[in-house]
């Protein structure tokens, strides 16, 4: 038993972690500053595997950081800036206390500030890395841009957020990248595909803030500070990828259209440009002004190991996408004053439509209500006095549903005063066998290009379709059983045929149905494969099949329930009539 006695907590996990307070002392920062630094640098607390060991035998709950992370923080130049700022505040306080206004001025002029550019570069070495992490940034900026400019955070931050979000929306419009939108009770979810990355963000409704008390505004402001920097650089890069001028400029043509009005009514001179940009009604100026966008058709090269069918499918998909991008092209919308202007204008412009609104609603309207060429007017009130005959008056949900369905939906369901069909979430992906609401089925049918057979009575049609679907489903799960039955019968016949006494009858020409034969062959193969299974595998197979069947059963049950519910509703309506 030689050697030194090993002391506890001097090696292993105890030395890999450091408590928050110790880390703070090591960096000589106050707790708020430390927290800010960690957020900016992307250093998060860790939960050690063996807390008691790390905590030197104590079980008190503590926040731990990895020691290496904190050592890394020691090299950060911003730490010095934080300390400078602390000194600045102290001096300023003193000057105020002594009412030395000149020195207050001087100090304020030399207020220490820092930049986060190097941290962005460090945390996101490549552009794609940054793009992957943009969801949070967008949510935060959209959230902060809706805040009232009072007290809760710096007005400047709010302005910056607003600017960045407007830039982002303009980019999405210019690149036609929007994919999905969902109006929820919380806010509006958007999803866009930018450079192959799916980006989801949440936009709160305007004017809907009750400021919750249990949220740490300082933390949120710090995150926003970082994210605004990130989003700015991403915007710059994205604009340049589309050949747009970066601090975005309106197109000359569009600008001249907007010029006519007197801008002073809406905003101060300094702000009017941003306001015009945020109106989203005009397109942006490009570095190289191309008269019309001419997009060369890309030649398709099959990737190795990909067969023709696959490639065709891909091509078809691409075509569909192209079609979706031009969903509203050629349509002219007019927004009534009661509908959410920004969201709708964003959507319509994203899919190539033209949009305008009343002059008194917002800056940047391009045409008036009286314009004869308007095709759709979006209204959200039970009735409207003066109606033009050559345009549709529809509720705003139509636009959202069209975007999600990727086709122009029939407008009948969305007329004024009509009970709207449910707004379904586009973020739900149904697997086969899941319950699919009939509205979605209808949309899917429309997407496939099937026209509903008769359109005199919507409800009837709906019902029918439902029934059809039900039948289909039943068929789906019945078909297998039926096949098996058939096969069994055939086998029985065969076996019987052997035992029967031999007889010769006049031959008949058997009508061969090649499709049926093929089917039979396949079924036979499957049956044989099932027979050849090992016991264990067979058990598993049975289990899977049972699960599938159960799912179908449940879906059927729900559909039946829905039907009953609808019937009840209908009878109620009839009774009311």
């Amino acid at each position: 038993m030689g050697g030194l006695q090993k002391k506890k907590y001097e090696r292993g996990s105890a030395t890999n972690y450091i408590t928050r307070n110790k880390a703070r002392k090591k960096l000589q920062l106050s707790l708020p500053d430390f927290r800010r630094l960690c957020i900016l640098k992307g250093i998060y607390p860790h939960e050690p595997k063996h807390k008691k060991k790390v905590n030197k035998g104590s079980t008190a709950p503590r926040t731990f950081y990895l020691l290496k992370d904190i050592r890394f923080l020691l090299h950060e130049p911003i730490v010095g800036k934080f300390r400078e700022y602390k000194v600045f505040v102290r001096k300023l306080k003193k000057a105020y206390g002594k009412t030395e206004w000149s020195s207050v001025e001087r100090l304020k002029e030399n207020k220490p500030a820092y930049k986060l550019d190097h941290i962005i570069k460090e945390r996101y070495p490549s552009f794609i890395d940054a793009l992957r992490d943009i969801d949070d940034a967008l949510c935060m900026c959209f959230l902060f841009s809706t805040f009232a400019r009072t007290g809760k955070c710096h007005v400047q931050t709010i302005q910056l957020c607003r600017r960045l979000t407007v830039e982002w929306m303009n980019y999405v419009i210019a690149s036609r990248a929007l994919k999905k939108v969902f109006i929820s009770i919380k806010g509006i979810y958007y999803q866009a595909e930018v450079m192959g990355q799916l980006i989801t963000w949440l936009v709160p409704y305007q004017f809907s803030h009750d400021h919750p008390t249990d949220v740490d505004y300082r933390v949120m402001a710090t995150f926003t500070e970082f994210y605004t920097t990130l989003l700015g650089f991403i915007n710059f890069r994205l604009y340049h990828s589309l050949n747009l001028i970066y601090p975005p400029k309106l197109d000359v043509k569009a600008e001249s259209e907007l010029k006519e009005e007197n801008d002073d009514d809406y905003a101060m001179n300094s702000e009017s440009y941003l306001e015009k940009l945020s109106a989203l009604s005009a397109s942006l100026a490009r570095v190289v002004s191309t008269a019309e966008e001419e997009e060369a058709e890309l030649d398709q090269f099959p990737v190795e190991g990909e067969d023709m069918a696959n490639m065709e499918a891909r091509e078809k998909e691409q075509k569909q996408e192209e079609a979706q991008k031009k969903l509203f092209e050629g349509l002219k919308f007019f927004l009534n004053r009661e509908v959410p202007r920004e969201s709708l204008a964003f959507l319509i412009r994203c899919f190539g439509g033209e949009v305008s609104w009343d002059k008194s609603v917002c800056i940047g309207s391009t045409y008036e209500v009286t314009d004869e060429t308007i095709t759709h007017q979006i209204v959200d009130r039970p009735n409207i006095d003066k109606q033009y005959i050559n345009r549709y008056y529809i509720q705003p949900q139509w636009v959202y549903d069209c975007v999600n369905a990727k086709i122009i939906l029939p407008v009948e369901d969305y007329f004024l005063g009509v009970t709207l069909p449910p707004h379904l979430s586009p973020f739900v992906e149904e697997k086969d066998g899941d319950y699919v609401p009939p509205e979605k089925l209808k949309i899917m049918a429309l997407q496939r290009g099937e026209k509903p057979a008769h359109e005199q009575e919507e409800e009837e049609e709906e019902d029918e379709e439902e029934e059809e679907e039900d039948d289909n489903e039943e068929e789906g799960d019945d078909s297998e059983e039926a096949e098996e039955k058939n096969l069994k019968k055939m086998e029985e016949q065969r076996s019987q045929g052997k035992s029967l006494s031999v007889k010769v009858t006049a031959g008949k020409v058997k009508v061969e149905n090649p499709a049926r034969l093929e089917q039979e062959e396949k079924a036979e193969e499957k049956r044989l494969a099932i027979m050849m299974m090992k016991k264990k595998e067979k058990y598993l197979y049975d289990k899977i099949m049972f699960g599938k069947k159960r799912k179908v059963r449940e879906a059927n049950k729900l559909a039946a329930k829905r039907k009953a519910h609808d019937d009840a509703e209908k009878s109620k309506k009839k009774a009311r009539k």
């Binding site: 957020i39 949070d136 969902f182 009770i185 379904l424 979430s425």
Partner: protein, 458 residues
Amino acid sequence: MAPSRRTKRVVASQPGFLNLKSSSGAAGLPSIRRKRVNKNKKKNWNKHSDINDVTEFLEDVRHQERTIGGLLSEKSDDNLFFLDVGQPKKAEQKVAEPVDGKKRKGKAVRPLRIDLILQHDSLVPPPKDVLAYQQPNAKKLRRIAQKAEQLAAKGVVPRRQKQLLNRRPADRTAKKAVTEANNNPDREYYDIWGQESKDTADPWYLQQTGKKRVKRPEKLNEKPSVLPAVEVIAPGGSYNPDFFSHQALLQEAHEVEVKKQKEEDKIERQLAVNKEHIATEETILREQVEGLVEEETEEANEEEEGVAVGAITVAEKKTERQRKKERAYKVKEQLRQANRYQNDKRQQLFQLRSIKTSIKQEEQETKDKQKQRKAKQEAQKAQPRRLGKLKFKAQDMEVQLSDELAGSLRQLKPEGSVLKDRFKSLQKRNLIEPRERAKFKRRLKLKYVEKRAFREIT
């Protein structure tokens, strides 16, 4: 220097001269005898001859010249005296003044009498400060200036000026590089990912001088949670939901509520007072008479206990024979065990199959456990970790009841707060630790005193 000293001495030696010191000295001494000095030496003439009267006279003359500007005796009577004829006639002047304003102005030019009195009228000019006129290196400088003039005449520009002219003009317009605040709404952005900075200097030098950033550890770029940044609400959360998805969401919310309620109930149940512990009349009475009755039985008990405590069992000593026996038994036992072990091992040869199956079983079990552990770890990745004092508490689910749902987008009432949703999402993804708002702590206790006016009323 020397003559002044001399005069002093002369003054001191004169008998008639009284100055402060000498007078004090005279008061101290009874008589001042004249000092006898030989007058046949020139030195002594200088030293001891009395020239006081002469110096006094000269001093007086100089004084008169300095102050009055000439000897008084030589001045005319007009200069020294004037005829005092009493107050000048003011009335006359006052009448005269308004008549001619211009004349009055002319009068104002004449200097005031006070100024005339104060005017310097000595004949001795004030001494010149020579140093003020002197210039160090004047000669050299003059020469240099002359040379420069000559060169300038020839058109030759001196080297220094040439250097100054050659220097690039400093960019006056560029202010001191002030880093503007991060949240400045008009701030500029640039292509941060495009430019690759080329380090021309030696990397070792850069690193040692702290000019190179420390590389970020790769591990820091891993996300602390697998959850997506934005979790889309369930389809039932649509503003105009499908009936069934809405019901499903309601069901979920209901279950959450039920769970909460159960927990609350459990705590309440645990905290409820046990009925047996409530005092009844009987127990109260018993408490009151405690110690008054039943004394005898206790005493009896005590006695019994005393006996029990007193008995200590003493182990008897073993005999030699017993020890031997024990040892033999031990050896025998060991032998038996060894035999048995050997036997078992031999027997295992015939149990090979069952052993194999048991090993397989064990392996299977460990594998299963491993799998379970892995699955658990995977599931844990999506879970919020315990990062501080508090556990993560999920936000209340945003749900609108069937009658709260709005018929149209215009009437929609937003539920919940996006700000809170974002904040909780950050916590859920382990980016920040859950915290409670710091409670306001009063440093000094508040003291309530009723004011006198109120006290009178109440």
